[in-house]
Every structure is written in structure tokens, then in C-alpha cells.
Amino acid sequence: MVTRKLLFVSLLAVALMVTACAPAAKVVKETVIVEKQVEKVVKETVVVAGTPQVKEAAKEVVVTATAKPVDAPNSINLNASGATFPQPLYEDWAFAFSQRDPSVVINYAGGGSGQGIKDIKAGTVDFAGSDALLKDADYQEKPELQMIPTVAGAVVLAYNIKGVTATITLDAAAVVGIYSGKIENWNDPALAALNPGVKFPDLPINVVHRSDGSGTTNIFTLYLSAVSEDWKKGPGAGTAVDWPVDKLGRGQGGKGNPGVAAAIQNTNGAIGYAELAYAKSNNILYAKMINAAGKTVEASIPSTVAAIKDAKFDGRLTAVIVNSKDPEAWPIAGFTYLIVHKDYKDCKKAEKLVSFINWALSDAAATSRASKLLYAPLPNEVMPRVIEVVNKITCNGKPVVTK
């Protein structure tokens, strides 16, 4: 009785071990890449129950491709976290790159520039995204970090006022007034003066900002500091600041660009700063702005390109471009960066990372995807420098790219 049971148990154990090891022997997956990607536009209606507006049509673009990003045992997995400013673009790029090269899988988890910087310094991710610049102290602590600019984007003031369906115009004074708390209500004369045709309701302004450490906040507050001495001396610029509206009870914090955009959408009377892609793709109204040259501009690729035209990149490949004097420039624009290590221990990861960044910066398909999401490419003058730095990435001392 005892021996029979022992035999059975040992057979079971052997069987379990065999089945556990078998998948490793299996062939991983088919890696057929469909050359021609057919884009089907499917109209799908999303019914939101219980609300007066019954049907909402959402356009769905179906890309048929058989290569799905799957993290199989011998695929190379690149993990990243960081800025939500470029997140729609990085997710798009990661997906497209995995279709081109199914052996690599890129997971960009977002979380804000602050999280990206923390994670890359702690070594828990392979690369990070950040619109906030690393400080001197960070470089001293971790000299092996390198910032690589990828694209430039526009920060817009998105708003949600019931009854206002027009695009409003704001100027620097109005934005500073709203965020410092001096302009309290949408029917303030300062706003009416800028928007003669718009009927604003008597509604307190709910000012949305970021609740996490954010490069988008950094870009926005750099702008506020550039146009207002009071703001510069007061809350100042940074990835997180003391928002005056919070003390007045009219502030609201959202996590990440999506959180801010969602808060604006869900709150009547809200205004907040977010990257253009979030406002545009979710049909949230965003304001035109009067720039430093006095011209009213709309956030778009041409105005972003005009803003970054005269960008001066320093030795660390970083540049600040808010409140450009160019007449066509969008006043609140900023570059976004990838933070990488100068040297990697895992050669396969380093190789795939370098190939990904090179593809993202130079490949026509990558640039066109960026343009579709309204991110502007780097100026031509700085591109060679950036590519040079990317190709200098080494793995255990040996350069990854051998030219």
C-alpha cells in the first residue's frame, strides 16, 4: 500500500516536471510579419447607459498584423517608466517597433517624469522618459545617465465649461491670473476682454494641476516664471510646486497627463494644462494663446516647430524653449527626453535599445507617427549630435554600434 502510493506520487512528480520543462522546448511563436498593413476603419458605437446623450460614435482603427508583441522566453524585454507627456507617442512607437522586430518587446509604463527619474536612478527600469531635466546632483550621483531628446510637444490649457463650445483665447496674464488665483470666476472681465464673442457663465474656475512629479508641470511653470516675476519669486518652476489655488480650495490634482485631462473632462468649470495629444484626441477644448510676439497662435505642429527653431542645446543635450519670441511660436512648448545609461551590462538589451532609438529618431515611419500625434521632430541642426550620442552607448565598455 505504501509502496504503491509512493510509486504513484513519484510518477506524478516526474510527469509534472516533464510538463513544466516542455514549454521551453516548444517553438516560440510564428514571426510572420505582414508587409502590408491594412487599416480598416470601423465605426463602433459606445452606448453610455443612463445618461441623456445616448450614443457616442468612436472611430476604431483596426490594424491587421499577425505579429503580436508577446514576451516569449527568448524575446528581449525593455522596461521603461516615466513621463506621460510623450506617452501616447512612446506607446505607439513601442507597438510599431515590436511589429518590425518581434524579438524585442518594449513596455513603457508611464507614471510621470518623477517616477522615471527615480526608477532609472534605482536601476529598476532599462530606460526612462522625462521632460524634467536631471539636476547637477543627479549627474553627480549617477554620472552614467544620459538624456536624449526625442521630440518636442505643446502644452495646452484645456477647459470644460458647460455652455461654451467655442475655442477661447488666453494670454500670459490670463493664465498667470487663473493659476495664481486672482481670476476666480469664468465671468471675470479679463477673460471677457480676450474673448468678446464668448458668453461665459457665472461659474467658479476649478484649476487642475498635477498631483505627481511632472515634466509637464516643469515646462508649464517655466513658462509661468518666464512671463511673471511674481510667479518666479513665488511658486517658481519645477516638477511640483505649491499651487496658490490649492489654498483657495479651487485646485484639483490629477495623476499624470491622463489624470489631468480626465479631471478636466469630469469637472464643470475646470481648466488645466496638459500635452496637446491628450486634449486633441479626446475632444477636449483647448485655448489659443497670445505669444510673446503678440500674435494669437493655435497649438499645432507648425507652431511647435516655430517654437523649437532657435533652441540652444547645451553640452548635456538639453534645451528650454518656453515663451519663444518667434511670431508663429507656441509659447508653452518643451522637449521630452529619454534617460539612458551610457553603458549597459546586457548587450542584447543595449543593442535593441540603440536600434529602437535610432529608428524612432530617423525612420520616416516613426516621424510620421509622431506627426500624426502632433509631436514635432527635433531641429535638423541638433539631430547629428543626438545620433552621435546614441551610437556612443556601450555595453560592458564595447560600443554597441560599430560603424
Binding site: G50, V61, N77, F95, I106, P258, A261, I264, Y278, K372
Partner: protein
């Protein structure tokens, strides 16, 4: 007169308790209604079998999250069940020792611990050295499941009549054999219901996973890399401006709630069936 006042206030207050019960259950009905109606309209086979796609490409599906949740549940059960059963065996055998009381105290404390604190603990223990991983997520969820498993297993073990254990011991079986081959199997259905309730508890846990499993947009079965999970994806999609993502969030809510309801109702049914069987 006084009698009338007493009688009518009696009926009034008793009626009030009934009314309160209706009011108290109303949110449940409301939530379930919303979850089912809004979730059902966004669920499709493609949604369940597709992995993440950016919204610019339609939004994709949640297969990666379903797989991820399954793996995390499996890991959490793997870590918590053996430990929980062994601990419960100790407490059931030695209820009045110092260690037994300490364990009872420990499970009470652990069950009341905010799950975010558990996440911090596992971050310090596991993630600091080895990065975000499915294993870390599994450990965090296991810590949350442990008190439930210990408590229910202990109660189920106590319900088994002592005569059964005594008979086995009288026949010469050693203690460990009695416990593992006689006592435990007799309580097995109860222990399984405890496991189901514990899984139902952690199926929707988000905060401990934020800094352990991190979340992923990619289908992954690796244990040492970040992994997706249904509640994490739900959180991300709910706090998102895109209407497509919001609809997907409701669908995920439906799946999680259906899973939790199924587990809870099954556990209840098994308990009633078992108690009917015993008498």
C-alpha cells in the same frame, strides 16, 4: 393613550429598520446595475483575446491583463496556501499556547493592515534589489490572502470531530500522518472555500501591485518582469480622458465583479451544502 404611542413608535422604528436595510442594499444594486450594463456593452470576444494597443490603433483588449491576473493569483495562492495551512494546523492543535495566541493576534493585525502598507513592505523587501516583477506582486497578494486562509482553515479544522483524529491516532498513525491525511482532508471543502474567499479578496487589489508588479502593456508570463493585472489596468483606464478607455474600464470592472461574485456565491453554496450534508 400611552399604549398607543408605544405601539405606533414600535411599528415606526421597526419599519425604519426595514427601510434602512433597503437603503443600505440600494448602493449594491446600483453598482451592480451600472457595472453590468456599462460593462456588457463594451465586452466582446476580441476585447478579451486581444492585447494592449494604443488608443490611436483602437485600444486593443485585455488578454495580457487576464493572463497577468491569473499568474498573480496562482503565485499568491502558491505562496500563501502552504504557509497558511501549516500555520492553521499549529493554531488548531495548540490554541492556548503563547505562539497560538500570537498567531491569532498576528492574523488579526495583518487582516486589518492597509494594503498599500503591504505594497511598501514588499517594495522594500523584493523590488529594491530585483526590480518590479510578477513575483513581488505575488508575494504582496499572498500576504493579503494569508490571514483569511489561516482563519478559515483553523475554523474548518476545529469543526472536524475530535473522534476522527483520535481514531486515527489510536490505530497507530503518527501525528503528521493524522494531520495531513485524515484531519486536513476532512476539512478540505471548507479550506477550499476559504481559498476562494481569499482569492476573491485579492482579485481586485490594486494598491499593493502599483509598486510591485508595476503593470505592463505587454503580454508576459515571465516571473521576474513587470506584469499586467486587471485592477491595475482598470485604474489606468478609468482615470483616462479617452471614452474608449473608459468603456474598457467598465468592461474590466464587470469581469472583476463577476469573478468576485462567482467566488463568493460558490463559497456560500458549498458551505450551505456541506452543513446540510453534515446533519
Amino acid at each position: 393613550m400611552h399604549q398607543r404611542v408605544r405601539r405606533s413608535s414600535n411599528i415606526f422604528m421597526l419599519g425604519l429598520t426595514g427601510l434602512t436595510t433597503v437603503v443600505g442594499i440600494a448602493p449594491l444594486v446600483w453598482i451592480l446595475f451600472d457595472v453590468f450594463v456599462r460593462g456588457a456593452s463594451a465586452i466582446s470576444i476580441r476585447f478579451l483575446t486581444d492585447t494592449f494597443k494604443p488608443t490611436s490603433l483602437g485600444g486593443g483588449g485585455i488578454w495580457h491583463a487576464l493572463v497577468g491576473t491569473g499568474i498573480l493569483m496562482g503565485l499568491a495562492s502558491l505562496f500563501s496556501v502552504p504557509l497558511g495551512i501549516l500555520t492553521a494546523l499549529y493554531v488548531a492543535r495548540n490554541p492556548n499556547t503563547l505562539l497560538g495566541l500570537a498567531v491569532r493576534f498576528g492574523t488579526d493585525v495583518l487582516s486589518g493592515l492597509p494594503s498599500i502598507v503591504v505594497g511598501l513592505f514588499v517594495y522594500a523587501l523584493v523590488v529594491s534589489g530585483h526590480g518590479y516583477s510578477a513575483l513581488a506582486g505575488g508575494v504582496a497578494l499572498a500576504i493579503l490572502m494569508l490571514p483569511i486562509i489561516v482563519r478559515t482553515t483553523e475554523e474548518m479544522l476545529k469543526l472536524v470531530p475530535k473522534s476522527l483524529r483520535e481514531a486515527s491516532l489510536a490505530l497507530g498513525a503518527p501525528e503528521w500522518k493524522t494531520s495531513l491525511q485524515v484531519w486536513l482532508p476532512a476539512a478540505m471543502t471548507g479550506i477550499l472555500t476559504g481559498l476562494m474567499l481569499a482569492v476573491a479578496r485579492v482579485a481586485g487589489e490594486t494598491s499593493p501591485l502599483i509598486f510591485t508588479a508595476l503593470g505592463s502593456n505587454v503580454l508576459s508570463t515571465a516571473l521576474d518582469k513587470p506584469i499586467a493585472s486587471l485592477p491595475l489596468v482598470l485604474f489606468k483606464y478609468a482615470v483616462d480622458p479617452s471614452k474608449v478607455r473608459n468603456a474598457q474600464a467598465w468592461a474590466i470592472a464587470l469581469i472583476i465583479v463577476a469573478l468576485v461574485l462567482l467566488l463568493n456565491i460558490s463559497a456560500r453554496l458549498i458551505a450551505t451544502w456541506r452543513s446540510k450534508m453534515m446533519y
